[in-house]
């Protein structure tokens, strides 16, 4: 029985040996190692069979061969593990390269010295013939923050990203990201650049459209009030004509004073509309007085509201921030117009500016219809509106854009049938004398006002 088993074992081992030598898909080293194990086992079995037949020298030879099997077996396992590990690494590297080659964005893998070792087709279009060269050393310009981020990531690790940054000397904008290739920063970095020029231009177009919509609405109100003011002027002029005819100087002075006030108010209104209509760049920054922005905006809007609305402003502190007064005014206008639209039957709108350490909070409060909870999460999405055909769906998206431009945040609290409060929190600067600019009044005056 043992003889049969050993014979069968020898035959199977011989078959395995032949298959191993013919397994051309296996690496040669593995084929040799497997053949060594199978061959040694086969020789051992053969020696055992010869020993059974009484061949004296077969026993020590068989024992020697048996002693080699564990070593060969261990070597085989190590070899298979090593080769398969290499194969997997190679496969992963090929996949990564394939991914980098085919990704539609501009992606490049940099080595520890910042040289491009692999780049996508889009990257090669941006930086032609730069493989083997650091992207920062090419003639192609890039945002300074990106160049700094690449250097920092290669030196210290860490990730960085930038959104819609202008390429120096070009009318293009990039969003970018830099990340270390693995935990070891010196191993290199992965850089991704996305050209977001179209998005930036689209946002600018949407802002412009929305601003024009607001201007149109304001212009209608201004025209209405301007007509009233002109009527006052006409009446006073007519009266002056009559009075002058009867030589009554006191009445003449009153009439002239009244006319002067009407002209001043008309002038204020038209200046406000014109300033808003001016397409100032959102990148234009200066020290802006938030109280002045609030007061000027409230004054401008108040003249366009019907009598059933009560617009109340309350301003505390003298917050200033580096920003764009026109954009901030546009933001506040949108919120007040929204508050007005939420109260078709009229009511009170509160505009409250408060100041805490390093932050100013601007709240616009209405007591209107409120916003359904399911709509609140979409409020700031462009073109989303709850006003039907009357709304453009752009107002609150512009609000969010302006708030983000100024490094602030916006929150909304609303209850159906009870009203809505929009809270804008903006980081403030330390107030300084020189260039604080409001809308009309250059003086920053703490206090509150009420209409």
């Amino acid at each position: 029985m043992i003889f049969l088993v050993q014979t069968a074992t020898a035959l199977v081992l011989a078959l395995g040996l032949v298959l191993a030598l013919r397994a051309t898909r296996l690496p040669v080293s593995i084929r040799v190692a497997v053949a060594a194990v199978l061959g040694t086992l086969l020789a051992q079995q053969t020696m055992d069979l010869l020993e059974l037949e009484g061949v004296a020298w077969a026993d020590p030879v068989g024992d020697t061969l048996a002693g080699a099997v564990p070593f060969l077996w261990g070597a085989l396992l190590l070899l298979v593990s090593d080769r398969f590990h290499l194969r997997r690494l190679s496969s992963e590297r090929a996949q990564t390269h394939s991914l980098i080659d085919d990704v539609p964005a501009a992606v490049a893998l940099l080595d520890g010295h910042g040289r491009v070792v692999r780049a996508s087709a889009t990257w090669r279009e941006l930086f032609p013939a730069t493989e083997g060269t650091p992207p920062t050393a090419t003639p192609r310009s890039m945002p300074e923050s990106l160049a700094l981020a690449i250097g920092r990531t290669l030196a210290e690790g860490g990730r960085a990203k930038g959104d819609a940054e202008r390429v120096p000397g070009e009318d293009r904008w990039w969003s970018w990201g830099v990340a270390p290739w693995n935990e070891d920063a010196s191993a290199g970095a992965l850089v991704m650049i996305e050209d977001v020029t179209e998005r930036v231009r689209g946002q600018a177009d949407r802002d412009s459209t929305q601003r024009l919509a607001v201007i149109g609405e304001l212009a209608a109100g201004v025209a209405h009030d301007m007509n009233n003011l002109l009527t006052i002027l006409q009446l006073n002029l007519a009266m002056l004509r009559d009075v002058a005819a009867h030589e009554r100087p006191a009445l003449t002075a009153d009439a002239l004073s009244s006319m002067n006030e009407a002209v001043e108010l008309a002038s204020t209104m038209t200046r406000g509309v014109l300033r808003l209509a001016r397409a100032e760049s959102s990148a234009e920054r200066e020290l802006v007085s938030l109280p002045s922005v609030v007061e000027d905006t409230v004054r401008l809007v108040r003249s366009t509201l019907l009598r059933r609305y009560e617009l109340v402003s309350s301003v505390e502190g003298a917050s200033t921030l580096a920003g764009n007064a026109t954009r901030l005014q546009q933001m506040l206008l949108n919120l007040i117009v929204n508050a007005r639209d939420a109260m078709p039957e009229g009511g009170r709108i509160d505009v409250v500016l408060t100041e805490t350490a390093g932050e100013a909070t601007l709240r616009v409060i209405d007591h209107g219809v409120g916003i359904a909870p399911r709509d609140q999460s979409r409020l700031f999405t462009p073109f989303f509106t709850t006003k039907g055909a009357r709304g453009t769906g752009l107002g609150l998206s512009v609000v969010r854009a302006v708030v983000e431009e100024h490094g602030g945040r916006v929150a909304v609290e609303s209850a159906l049938g009870r009203g809505t409060t929009f809270s804008i929190t903006l980081p403030t600067s330390v107030a300084s004398e020189p260039r604080a600019r409001g809308f009309d009044a250059p003086t920053i005056a703490p206090g509150s006002s009420r209409s």
Partner: protein
């Protein structure tokens, strides 16, 4: 070792060494099981190794008890190991190729 050698003869050290090395390989395989589990057709390879270990164990044990039984187990284990290793030779190339 001396007692064992006096009982089973001069080949005792080689048999014990085989068994010890086999146990070391099993230990390493268990500690590095994640690596071994990622190998192609790893179950067949593990089966071949396990039967080799059985064969080496039976080779030692047969000198103490039930010689005929453990001798038979030894040879059957070698046979099973040969079958498992040969089947691995057939199965492995399907999933393991030369690194590119």
């Amino acid at each position: 070792m001396t007692a064992y050698r006096s009982r089973v003869g001069e080949h005792s050290e080689r048999e014990l060494l085989n068994l010890a090395l086999g146990l070391v390989i099993v230990l390493v395989s268990v500690l590095k099981r994640e690596v071994f589990q990622s190998l192609p057709a790893h179950r067949r390879l593990a089966t071949a190794g396990a039967f080799l270990l059985v064969a080496w164990t039976a080779t030692v044990v047969e000198h103490f008890v039930l010689f005929e039984l453990f001798d038979a187990i030894e040879h059957l284990a070698y046979f099973a190991s040969a079958v498992a290793l040969t089947s691995w030779v057939v199965a492995a190339p399907r999933s393991l190729a030369e690194p590119r």
